[in-house]
Structures are given as C-alpha cells and as structure tokens.
C-alpha cells in the first residue's frame, strides 16, 4: 500500500474514533511474567498457605511490589529468593527446602509406599504359599436340571 493512503486511513481512524487515541492493546511484559513466576513460590506470611500471587492481602501486594522493584534493579530471581529467605527464613517458601530433617517429609511417602509394598508383597506371597492349591481335576459337567436352575438364578 502507498504511504499516503495508509496515512490517510490511519488519520481517519484516529479522528473518527476519539477514544482510540488512548485505547491500546495491553499485554504482559516480560517483567510481569517474571514477577508472577517468583510470586507463586513465596508465601503470604499472614495468610493460610497462600502464595503472594494468589493472595489478595495487602501484605502480599507489598511483597509483589518488592519482587518487582528488585527485578527492575537488576536482581536475579535467585537473589530475590535469597533476600526473602534471609528475612523470613524457610517459612517464606511455598515448600520446605529438601535438606536436613525435611528429608523425612519429602521421602516419607515414598519410603512408606516402597516399604509397605514390599511388606505386603512378602505377606501375600506367604499367604499364597500356605494356601492349599485347589485340585486340578476338571469340574464335572452340569446335568441338565442343575443347568436350568442356574439359568433361572441368573435370570432373577
């Protein structure tokens, strides 16, 4: 398209729809997305197990602000995590770090599952071994009377 036509079109558009001058398509910036990703890992300290992204509490809003400011200042997500950890301790993370006594929490379910599974398996095998095997002679065919009765039973 020729430049003047484009320009004319654009001008008409702007002039005929006055609000269009102000209106624009809004989108998230890379910063917004980064803030969200970090905010989802941090706990709102005054809420009940809610992260600062999902929480509507004023404190959560402030903390989101802190995350945003620090990102703007050029801090890396790691720095920000360290910052919050140094101020609030492990409590601030949405999940406990996998060190020290917390291993119990992280590995506990799987130890239970494996241990329980093994125990159950051995027990079941033991039961199976102690159970006399049913005789292998083929069952005698049903006589007609029994067969009819069975049919009736199934029917009911």
């Amino acid at each position: 398209m020729f430049m003047p036509i484009r320009l004319a079109l654009a001008l008409t558009f702007i002039l005929t729809t006055p609000w269009a001058v102000l209106a624009e398509v809004q989108d998230e910036s890379a910063l917004d997305i980064q803030v969200r990703e970090i905010a989802k890992t941090l706990r709102c300290t005054v809420c009940q197990t809610e992260n600062i992204w999902e929480s509507g509490a004023p404190l959560a809003q402030q903390m989101r602000g802190v995350v945003r400011d620090r990102l703007k200042m050029g801090h890396s997500p790691e720095d920000i995590k360290e910052y919050f950890l140094s101020r609030y301790g492990d409590y601030i993370m949405m999940q406990p770090p996998a060190h020290g006594v917390n291993w119990l929490l992280w590995a506990g379910p799987f130890i239970l599952l494996l241990g329980g599974g093994l125990l159950l398996y051995k027990e079941v095998i033991g039961w199976v071994r102690r159970t006399p095997t049913p005789s292998t002679t083929p069952p005698t065919p049903l006589d007609e009377q029994a067969r009819q009765r069975l049919e009736r039973e199934l029917e009911s």
Binding site: L22, A23, Q26, E54, P96, G108, L112, V128, L154
Partner: protein, 649 residues
Amino acid sequence: MIIEIGHFSTIIALVLSVFGMASAALALKTRNPDWARSGRMAVTLIFVLLGIGMLALVYSFIVRDFSVLYVANNSNSNLPFFYTVSAVWGGHEGSLLLWVFILSVFSTLAVWLHWRTQPTIMPYLIGVECAIIFGFLCLIVFLSSPFERLLPIPLEGKDLNPLLQDPAMVMHPPMLYMGYVGFSIPFSFAMAALFSGRLGEEWIKVTQRWTTFAWMCLTTGILLGGYWAYYELGWGGYWGWDPVENASFMPWLVGTAYLHSVLVQEKRKMFKVWNLFLIIVTFSLSLIGTFLVRSGVLTSVHSFATDPERGLYILIFVGTIIGIAFGALILRSAKLKSQVELDSLISRESIFLFNNLFFLVAAATVFLGTLYPLILETFGGGKVTVGPPYYNAVFMPIALGLLFLMGIGPYIPWRKASVENLRKSFSIPLLAGAIMVALLAITGIRNLYALAGSYVVAFSGMAIVMDFSKVSQLYAQRNSSNIFKGCLAAFTANQRRYAAMLTHIGVLVLVIGIIASTIYQTEKVVSMKVGDEMSIGDYRMKLTNIHDVEGGNWKAEEGVFQVYEDETLLTELRPQKRIYNATQTPTTESAIYSINMGHIFLTMPEVSPEGVAVARGVLNPLILWVWGGGIIMGLGVILNILRPRKREE
C-alpha cells in the same frame, strides 16, 4: 426467650445422652429389652431436642436477634434472608451444633431402621452414638455455646464473613458433616462387633449403604468446597492443599479404602481386623479433621496455646474415642486371626490390598504434610510452609498408581487370574492407552504427567467399556433383544458392580479435567483503561466500561468486558470488586464464561482512582469435566444405594 428454649433443650439432650449410655449399659447387663427401648427413646428425644435447639438458633437468625452473641457475630440487619439461615453454620459454635444435630438424626434413623433385624447390636449402637453425642454436647454446652446472650445488646451485627455469603457455602458444611457423621454409623456397628464378639460379616453388610451414603456426602462436600474456592476466592483454582481442605480429604481417602476393602470380607470372609482398623481410622480422621479445623491449631501453634481450652478438650475427647476403639481392636485381634487364603498374587483380593496400601499412603502423605509444620515448630525446628508444590510433587505419583489399580482391579477375577484372563481383559486397554499417548504426543503435548495420566485414563476407561459391552452383548443374545436393552439388562442385573463402574468413569472424567485445567491453564494479568484490550489464548477482551453497582449489603465497582473470538462477540463478562458494607471487607467476584468444556475466568482485583483496572484472565481448559466427573460419580453412588435388595443381602 426462644434462644433460652434452644439452650435448655440442648442441656436436656446432654443429660439424655448420659441416660442413653446408662440404659445401653443396663440393657447389656440385665439383658432386659426394656432398657434398650428406653435407650432408643433417649436417642429419639435427643434428636427432637437438638432439632428444637437448631430451630431456636435459626429463628434468632431470621429475626436478627442481636442480643444473642453468636447471631451478633455472624449476622447483620442487611444480610440477605437466604444467608441468615446458612449463617447458623457460618461460625464455630453453630457448626458444632449442626455436627451433633446431624449425628442425632443419623443415630435415630439407624436405631429405628435396624431395630428389628439387629436386636443384639442395638445397645452397643445406642451406647456408642450417645457417647459421641455426649462428647460434642459437653463442648457445646460448656465451652462454645451458640446460645449465649450479649449485653448490652448491639444495634447492629458484625455480619457473616462475606466469603461465606455464597450458595455453595450454604450446602458445603452440611454435606461435609453428613459425610463425617455418616461414618459414625459403620463405626458404631464395628464397635458393637468388637465389644460383643460377634465378628462376622453381618455388620459390614448392614452398614454398606450407610458407608456409601456417607462417602457420597463427603465427596459432594469436598467438591462443593472446591467449586466455591474456584469462583469465590478468585485465583482460578479449586484445590489449594489448604490444611482445612486436607482435613476433609484424609477421611475421604481412608473411607474410600474401606469402601473397597469390605468387598473382600463380604466375598471371601477375610481381612476382618483390617476392615475394623480402616473404619476406625476413617471415623477417627473425621474427628481429627473436626479437631484440626475447630481448635485453631492449624493457624498456628501459638493461637492454640493462648486459647487452649476448646482445643485441649477436643483433643482429649477425640483421643479417648480413638484410644478406646483401638484398644478394643487390639484386645480382640487375637480372636480375629482368621486363616487368610490367597490363591495368587494376581487376584482381586490382592489388588484390593494394594489399593488399600496406596490409599493409606496417600492419606499418610496428606497427614504428614498438614501436621509437619506444627510438629517441626513444636520441637523447635523453625517454621516451614508445606504448600501445593510439595503435594503436587509427592501426591501425583501415588494418585497415578491408584488410577492404574482402578483400571485393572475390577477385571482381575477373585482367587486367581490366569495369563489368558489378563491377555483377554487388558491387551486392548493397553493398546488404547498407547494410542491415546501417541495422539497427544502428535498434538504437541510433552508434559510427562499429562501423558502418564492420559495413558492410565484411556487404559482404565477402555477396560470398563470392554467389559460392559461384552456382558451387554451376552444379555442381548440371551434375551434375543437389541444391544440397548442388553445394556440395560446387564446394568440392572449387576447394578452394584456397574453403578460402581459408573463412579469409576466419573473419577476418570474428573482426572482428565484436573490434568487439563492445572497443567494447561493460561493466565494473564494486565492493567487496562476503558477502551483497552487484552488478548488471552484465542480470545480478546475489551474493557468497555467501569461503573458502580450496589447490592443489598455491598457496593462494587464492576468492569464490563466484551469477549471476542476473532471478530465475533461471545459474551460480556462483568467481574466485580466488592466492598461489603458491614465489615468493609473487599472481595473479588469472578465472571465466568463456559466455552468448549472450559472456562474463561475473569477477575478485576484492583481499580485505581484514575480508572486503571487490573484485569486477571484465566483460561481453564476442560474444567467442566472436573464438575461433570463429580456429578457422574454421584450418580453412580446413588444408583448403588438404590439398587434392589438381593436375597443374600
């Protein structure tokens, strides 16, 4: 005056619960049936009296009698009528009263329903139910009474928490409590079996419908809670692994294990101790759940320590019941040692055992995660948070295992499965799973959980469909009717089994919904002026107006968003930022549009004085499958309960 009548009735009910326990004991000692009859009368009267107590409280809410402390704390003159009734269980004291009232309803029903067929059980049933009622009534009467007066009488009430002013929250607590309390009936029968030494299969058969009903109520309650959280809390999710949610999930998990495990005892007369153990744990977890939620211990150890009376009482009460139950079980277990006969590792019996293992480990995981912060803090290990990332990582593999067992369990025969059995039943489902994964992989889905989940769902679904169609064909052939009549005949002839399979299908649908809506959720938050647009996924949203609206007891700023797909206008969404007048609490009201089985979910958490709105759009693909799956599960359970009685039952 009215509230005093309620208070007085409740106190009499407390006295009668002692009388009920005493007459149960005397009925056992003297073997005089008159004592059992007076126990029955006591239970019935407790129900009537607690009914009067409930009505008195409801009445005080309806007339907005702010001289009643509980009403003043949970109501307001502008609270809509609908919510004045549900406000009865909007707070601590009222929900306890509701709990024990439901318990009295169930006890009365159970006593009258089973009176003729279970005469020997009755004294035990009456005794146990009265003991539980006694425990809760003591708490209500002495430590947290909803009947207390307030002086001077305030002109205005504090209002019901705005988040609870919602239809789903009206039904959520009663449903949940009906689930918790419903398990008390099989629990009481189990206790009767233990105390009386009549340890056969009878108590299980008699309580099977009770158990199923309780399970249905608990499931519905949990799902309603999720549904409420979804559209009321405004972050677009329905399950946050919140301690309160976990408290209701634990009894559900063990209750589900029990529901399956009793089938083995019914069929093969094995695992008696195990089933007793499971129902005791299930009901204990119902009580523990109530304790956790109601004692304040979850918010923090400190808030518990500063106001320890209630919490300590509930702890001791719950501890006593659990202690007695397990004590009785241990004392009896020697007598219960039955010869276990298992023909093969690959049998229905053993699959049920592994099912139980997975359910118990799942429950233990939730238990550990919920209590870990408390334990750590108590022992000076510092404060930690156990949030969704933990559960997602740890719980999902266990859930996948359960789904897999659900797929194979129903098609592995009792006693022993031959290789031929396995090949016939599972080769096509295995293939179906593989095809499903291949199809999804082609469409670009790479998430491991999504693929594994879809595999298991396709496998389990195909196994159910194959079995049902095969049996339906047999019925159609035999009756020489068409296949639809065959399906119907197959279903009605095996209603218990196929109703359960319908519930399994509901679970599969639910799981698909969960996978899609969690893993493939898209979310976008942008600041917009009137006239601005945002795009999310294939949709565009244009903010056309922000205006003020007013409801009965709130004011709000409402954003009007036009939603377009390409150039077609789909709908207008109107999310609100509300302020409730009485408490000045802000809430965000979401606006939802359903499309392609998913939701476009929109909230407007903030509006600045300059008119810049923060809009939060979330696309939740296939989320309707979550609720649809729940409905199918419920349908299956209802068909199970309503099945015609068979001779052997």
